[in-house]
Symmetry: C2
Subunit: 763 residues, 2 copies
Amino acid sequence: MIGFLVLQLHFTAYSQKTTIDLASQVNPLIGTQNMGHTFPGATVPFGMVQLSPETGNEPMFIDGKYNKEVYRYCSGYQYDDSTIFGFSHTHFSGTGHSDLGDFLVMPTTGLLILEPGETNESGGGYFSMFSHDNETAMPGYYQVGLSTYGINAELTSTERVGFHQYTFPQSDSAHILLDFMANIYNYDDKNVWTFVRVENDTLITGYRQTSGWARTRTLYFAMVFSKPVESYGHKKYDNSPYKGFWRKFDETENFPEMAGRKIRAYFNFKTEEGEKIQIKFALSAVSTEGALKNLKAEIPGWNFDQVKVQARQKWNRQLDKIQVKTTTEAQRETFYTALYHTMLSPVVFEDVDGNYRGLDDNIHQSDGFTNYTIFSLWDTYRALHPLFNLIEPSRNADMIKSMLAHYDQSVHHMLPVWSHYANENWCMIGYHAVSVLADAAAKGNTSFDMQHALEAAKSTSQVAYFDGLGDYMKFGFVPEDKSASSVSKTLEYAYDDWCIAQLASFSGDSLMASMYLKRSANYNHVFNHTSRFMQPRLSDGSWKKPFDPLQTHDQGFIEGNAWNYGLYVPQQVDSLVSMMGGKATFSTHLDSLFTMHLDDSYFEQTEDITRDGIIGNYVHGNEPGHHIAYLYNWTNEPWKTQARVRMIMETMYGAAPDGLCGNDDAGQMSAWYIFSALGFYPVCPGSAEYALGSPLVKEAVIHFENGNTLNIKAKHQSSENVYVKEVYFNGMELQSSFINHFELMKGGELLFIMSPNPDYGGR
Amino acid sequence: MIGFLVLQLHFTAYSQKTTIDLASQVNPLIGTQNMGHTFPGATVPFGMVQLSPETGNEPMFIDGKYNKEVYRYCSGYQYDDSTIFGFSHTHFSGTGHSDLGDFLVMPTTGLLILEPGETNESGGGYFSMFSHDNETAMPGYYQVGLSTYGINAELTSTERVGFHQYTFPQSDSAHILLDFMANIYNYDDKNVWTFVRVENDTLITGYRQTSGWARTRTLYFAMVFSKPVESYGHKKYDNSPYKGFWRKFDETENFPEMAGRKIRAYFNFKTEEGEKIQIKFALSAVSTEGALKNLKAEIPGWNFDQVKVQARQKWNRQLDKIQVKTTTEAQRETFYTALYHTMLSPVVFEDVDGNYRGLDDNIHQSDGFTNYTIFSLWDTYRALHPLFNLIEPSRNADMIKSMLAHYDQSVHHMLPVWSHYANENWCMIGYHAVSVLADAAAKGNTSFDMQHALEAAKSTSQVAYFDGLGDYMKFGFVPEDKSASSVSKTLEYAYDDWCIAQLASFSGDSLMASMYLKRSANYNHVFNHTSRFMQPRLSDGSWKKPFDPLQTHDQGFIEGNAWNYGLYVPQQVDSLVSMMGGKATFSTHLDSLFTMHLDDSYFEQTEDITRDGIIGNYVHGNEPGHHIAYLYNWTNEPWKTQARVRMIMETMYGAAPDGLCGNDDAGQMSAWYIFSALGFYPVCPGSAEYALGSPLVKEAVIHFENGNTLNIKAKHQSSENVYVKEVYFNGMELQSSFINHFELMKGGELLFIMSPNPDYGGR
């Protein structure tokens, strides 16, 4: 007891002084190798600007066509590369689909080369070689030596403004390239239009419109150099050079207006040895006027180090929300990097004056909220938004208000499915925004308009042309002959219906609640009581044949199979357990799932799943199974949950560039880790109940927005002691494997007594 | 004297009742044949929406490439055609370069055909045949029978909203096509992006971005049908169909979102015999939200006839500014159609709430003025803007404020050269916005900020990279070896410099005035005292050889030659006359100009000049010579001016589709006619002096904005009595061939005594 008090004082000291530099525990390079798809660049929490290097070891072009593998380069950076092409300002973190990569800046010296590179030979492009030995990645700061040019590149950022600092050698021909043709998700037709003005010898403004994953996306910028440009110009790579200048101008050099489909611009300088050229690069989705406002508001001066320190302070304030002690340094680094990765999206998507571009391409004013974008909802409704409800409900409420604004602006009258930068990209299935709404409502985070939310959820769930939804409403399931991945869709629609029922219930609309509760039982319609698997069904009611519960293609599932994806009934796990034969049988099914051997053929052909992220037929590297390890809690063997989640934490995460077993998916993989490391997990968002697991931390202190503090302690914590013998909340022993959100939010102490042996009694 | 009083009462009755339907005197078909480049469609004075048919007798496409001759179809319509492709909402009036043609709507029946036509055979495209027998063109209203489909098309308009009314036959498959690929100045790459939302079963919104003559131009729309759409869809003609919909949607049919580079959309209806489908189609350069605002503000209801009547009332109010009596009905029709044509551009370019898109592509608010666009300034500074200073100075001041806003937004820090729709297209030479500024200042129309105007003029005149201007400043003339058309440029820069000197003088900046006065004498530097011609000079000071004063190519002139364009020193005609050998010699030069015979080779190769518009080597069909007929006033033979201007009015203008001898050039040709018909002309805009000619009207009453009324009377007027024997202003006989603007603005009576014989005495 005395020890506990000391510990508390220790934590209190931390939080009051906020001198603790938790940012030092973060390694942004984690997840940059293989398929983690994170980026190492400079950004602030939830900042729109994510200023990060673009790498690539293959030639960027072959025969004038882009060659970059779009999946591998979702975040622009691969740790194994030794070639760097420059630094662009927007990135997804951890996604399984790519886009963005706006406004690539590359400093060079010597001969002006405007093309990124048809070959990897020196001089074959503007790229530089780089080495991890001369590279630093920290929250809010990135540094790399561009060895080809002898330039040291440093980056930092605010929410809307990237700050570059390039230290040049002596050169009469130093260049800053601004490649408007560079993109992530590059292909030849992505560039729709580019418009640039050289306002004066230090200020450049403009915009670029692209049609990538976001079909109609325009991003504006204002770029300021710390010293005047000596000369500048651009080259067009369109087939259709503009003929409107009446032979008056050579528009390619020192002409302050550039426009076209495909443009690369350059700015020339003379530099002394060791001279720093700084660039402030502001973004806006509204206008160049907006970008200039952002620039002036966020970085009025030229003090790079100050902005860098401020960025780190922002991270420390964020990371300080959860203070942990772990058994190993690696666990601590893994934890704080995961926490860092949960704060890279959604991102702020409005100008400093509250103007933002809506889904209808009109400019709106955020009224009483901050507008966010990048909603990878099929991933993030599971644990990321629940994590926000725990550690920053106000921000999550703003995200919900952003989703409601999206709904208001949607010509489909739908909440976002997967949206970014004022575009709906429709990725994956379901309409899990309703889960985010329901989870916030379930957890009392209800500063948004509940009636509006309910209307939006209802409207979304009734758009007949959306992805088999009309048939789902008609048949009570999605028939596979009408719409592929029909079982996944049926299961997820059913869960979403349950979320809407919860929302209706919280809003006091019992009629609607019961209607949607009925719909939420539709998972029954795809459960084959003979095979005891969820199976695809045809519109005549028959089961699709042949059926292979391990096969991932054409068997009714997307990125999964009946064995794993068929376990998706988070809203009624009890019912699922009994359908599948009761607790013992269900537990055996889970055991088999984790231990079976899969032929390579089963998963190699499946998107977003790699051998790295697999345990048997359990796929941690992808989302549909993220709740599965916790399902033992619904059997008599919750100790198996404890063992599995510890195993997953230890094997699927690590403090190294290859530390993520699959896409971080906009923070969902990391949010799973944060919850699991703290000892509980939101198996069914939309309910206030967490399933208990096995904490990885030794101690944790969570500072809630309500002012309360939750201390989590794992007594006898060790790598062997993965089992939970007893759990106490504020001194009372818990009698089940679940704990309620509202209890936790009261603060106090959640004490796990760890043990090397399972507690076969269960709770 | 008694007669005059009666006449006055008669006119007063007109203006008080305003029941006179002067619109009935206008024939919008004048100028639609050959090269007048006017359009016959429905518009209101200075309205942004100019809703007019697109015709073409050649196949629209050959091998999938646009085939339409861009010069011939500047306004979209050619009288000789019998094939119509639909109705689009934006047009230039009378220009010599094309663009616009936004949002083509075409009603059809039967088989859905989405392509305009690869052949002219029936069914080969969505086009219809039409006949002038079933066509009506009136101010504010256009009607045509679409014989291929049995549809009667009617159009009317407000400033920002086009109103379509299509009377269908009975049809189960009636269609309204919305061809986003249709353009004027069509070429394959013009379409940059199209974005469309079917908001509900009657409302469509969206925008189209094009890169035509305006390089970066976006126009938004909101379109409402009077009855719900049965079904709809679109077809893409891109090479790169969007892959982002995740195989969820058939986006081609009844999917409410369309986007891409090349799109044609259709809306299906069922119609009864004689059923009218109406469309309100609002434009905005700001946003779809802006277009909707415009729609609701300007046409809240569905009363087509009411909007049609209101449009006509607007025209009557405008045309009523000048009431004339002429000798013939044809003259009257020619006069009022010319007056009509002076009111088709510039056009209003802001939403009803004052928001407009600036040259910097940001959205601005017009503060204290109405923003206008389409400034064909090389043409219109000559007589159109002076005409506005006479009959609607307030509107002209707003145009000047629009130009100053352009300057404020210009990355070049220049006033407009030839600008439209928030783009500078740089057409032709000089920077004659300064003339418009100076003319307004000279005529006391100074509600704009004079210091701002002076700063803008000064800045514009010092942009060294602009079209030989740097060399002009360095050498005192534009050297032909540095910049082609060097004499034309030198002469026009010199005139513009004089205008700036006037502006400076009016502003009390005598230092600047004298500096620019000095520059304004630069015409001297290209006058060869040996040949007595303006000649191109090289940067070493020598005259370019060989020199042919009749040749229009490579002899230093643009769209002209030394014989005619060399007479361009409006600011110092006296000086020109004496340089060229004195009054008699100069007069002989003019005589020769009008009577010499030119080989076809001289003008057929010259842009914008056709045999129709030529009298000897005088070119009325193009602008550089528009002042020339009045130059006899500076000799001892002003009677030759009188004869020539009457001859030009009678031969170069007429009340028929081929009634314009060349491009109307945004109203300049028509403004020349209005002034000349009234008996005076602004030879040197920027001065308050008009040169007298020979009025064509018998009587005219001009209602000035200052409340004064000017009565013009031509006593003994007839087609033979083209000479002016005496001129009286308010009873005082004029002793010169000039009259001052401020005198005229006092109102009263300007009395010409006409005669069949020249007054050899001169004035």
